[in-house]
Amino acid sequence: MAGIRARRREPHCDGGIHVSAISRKQLRGWVKGYLFILPSIIGFSVFVAYPLVSSVYYALTEWGGYDRPRFVGFDNFKYIFTVDPAFWPSVRATFLYVLMSVPSSLALGLLLAVLLNKNLPGIKWFRTVYYLPTVVPSVATLMLWMFIYEPQYGLANTLLRMAGLPEGTWLTSEKTALPSIVLVGLWQVGSGMIIFLSGLQSVPQDLYEAAEVDGAGRWRTFFRITVPMITPILLLQLILGVIGAFQAFNQVQVLTGGGPNFSTSLLNFKIYNDAFNSKMFGYAISEVWILFVITMIFTALTYLYSNRFVYYESDNSK
């Protein structure tokens, strides 16, 4: 009762001062909040929003980077889709790369995580070794593999020869160049493995105990308990993997330069070449938009399709 009276009285007497005092304090709090996140607001505006918005215009221009962009409408896109002899091979190579590298590294990462999950003698040592290749810098890794794939003295063909097998063509043939690049990525499967491993270890132990009591076998337990429980991580890794694979660049730049015969000319590499070697900035930005839209569509489809299989713990309580 007293509270109600006090609240009613407020607007009449000292309420005005009181309210403005609160809001001034509140306002100071808001300003403080914005000051703390200011670096990221600037970062977001300058490094994300500005390039995104300005590239909508640049995509419609002919622009060499140093001159003034000249508006040409959809000419760039017309040329890309109908004339450019390197575009469709690049799209093909990019899709092949995504379809080969993403599922294989997910599957191998998960397999290794399962093998490394339960205790074994030397398990820590094994985890260390499997993660080790991922700490090797990208360029160091790629240069190392360039020598491994060298036809005559490289490690790959030396081992094949010793095993009495025919030599591989690796990076030198249209058919094997792209799979060889995917293989280098599989050497660095450790980062995915660690993420799956921590996912496996957060699966509640009592679920396994219940499965054992019910007499479920190893495979059943894996597919009915382990896999559903880690689907959120699988989905996140799948989506990040897809976005990352569409951006692959270093592998091609260091190892093949897009060849032989465009078989490894991934779109991101073509964009780099068109912009910084051919000085066709407007054209390259049009290609950026095509790659961006492809990536988004692919990601959305992956999400929509896979999300049906994802098990969210909170759904369970309904």
Partner: protein
């Protein structure tokens, strides 16, 4: 039936079951495949110029040519390039960690309108592929006269890293607000609370951020390739890639130099292994939430 028995003994850790033995064998083969390229690299780095190309190959060099590590590092002004990489990596690490900690604190602990919106914008920008910004930003930096300098690489580091801010926000959620409140009753400012109360408690995640930031900068290739032209400003990633054309025949020298390029990462990994695992583990917790 056999599977069930194996599972049970596996749990008790009493016996080494058939399943465990199979796992062990597969893991051994896999580990050999993982290590072999690196071991091969070390043997090449220690071989003489001619021994590199002997057929059949000598797996273990007859005599160890440690001098390759000296000759190899003379090829690309290695140590100056090494120093360049180190300076850039240290500055980027400082910038990213400082700014991300500030932003993370603001997002996790302060209340202001639009907080959720900014948080989702920052996290959402993680999904945006990096190539979208490259060309307009190149135009921006050349306009500022930053072409052929380290500025396009270092300056952006001071404007927050969405992944790190996100990790810090997640970590702060596990620390009770009562710590902040206690300090604030004693008259502490937000910066004081962050620096003296929360940061010491959040040290594990801060160290993780430092390691990943340093590693990211040490590995970075595309941005230096686009912005840095003069060889005396190169980073090691550029320097090592330049071995491709020029010194293609001197494998032993290249491998020796490459090993020194890798060494800081290996040291970081062996001494900070816990933090590597922790950082990647928190990606997993982020997926569930």
């Amino acid at each position: 039936m056999a599977g069930r028995t194996a599972l049970r003994t596996g749990r008790r850790k009493a016996k080494f079951s058939a399943w465990d033995a199979a796992r062990f064998a597969v893991l051994c083969i896999g580990a050999a495949a993982m290590l072999f390229p690196l071991l091969w690299m070390i043997t090449i780095a220690l071989k003489s110029d001619t021994e590199v190309f002997s057929i059949p190959p000598e797996w273990i060099p007859k005599e160890l040519h440690w001098s390759n590590f000296v000759t190899g590092t003379k090829q690309i002004h290695f140590w100056r390039t090494f120093a360049n990489s180190l300076i850039i990596a240290v500055l980027c690490t400082i910038g990213q960690v400082l700014s991300s900690v500030l932003v993370g604190y603001g997002l996790a602990r302060l209340h202001f309108p639009g907080r959720k919106l900014w948080f989702s914008l920052f996290v959402g920008s993680l999904m945006l592929p990096g190539f979208v910004g490259l060309i307009p930003l190149f135009h921006l930096y050349t306009g500022l006269g930053w072409y052929d300098s380290w500025l396009p690489i270092i300056v952006p580091a001071f404007f927050g890293n969405a992944t790190f801010s996100f990790l810090f926000v997640q970590y702060l959620k596990t620390i009770s607000v009562s710590f902040d409140e206690a300090a604030k009753i004693d008259g502490a400012s937000d910066l004081y609370v962050l620096a003296k109360v929360l940061a010491p408690m959040a040290m594990p995640i801060i160290v993780t951020m430092m390691i990943f930031s340093f590693q990211g900068s040490w590995n970075q290739y595309l941005e230096p390739l686009v912005y840095i032209v003069s060889p005396e400003k190169w980073t090691l990633a550029l320097g090592m890639a330049s071995f491709r054309g020029t010194y293609a025949t001197a494998w032993n020298l290249f491998m020796a130099a490459d090993l020194i390029y890798i060494a800081p990462m290996l040291l970081l990994y062996f001494f900070g292994q816990k933090f590597f695992m922790q950082g990647l583990g928190s990606v997993n917790s982020a997926a569930i939430k």
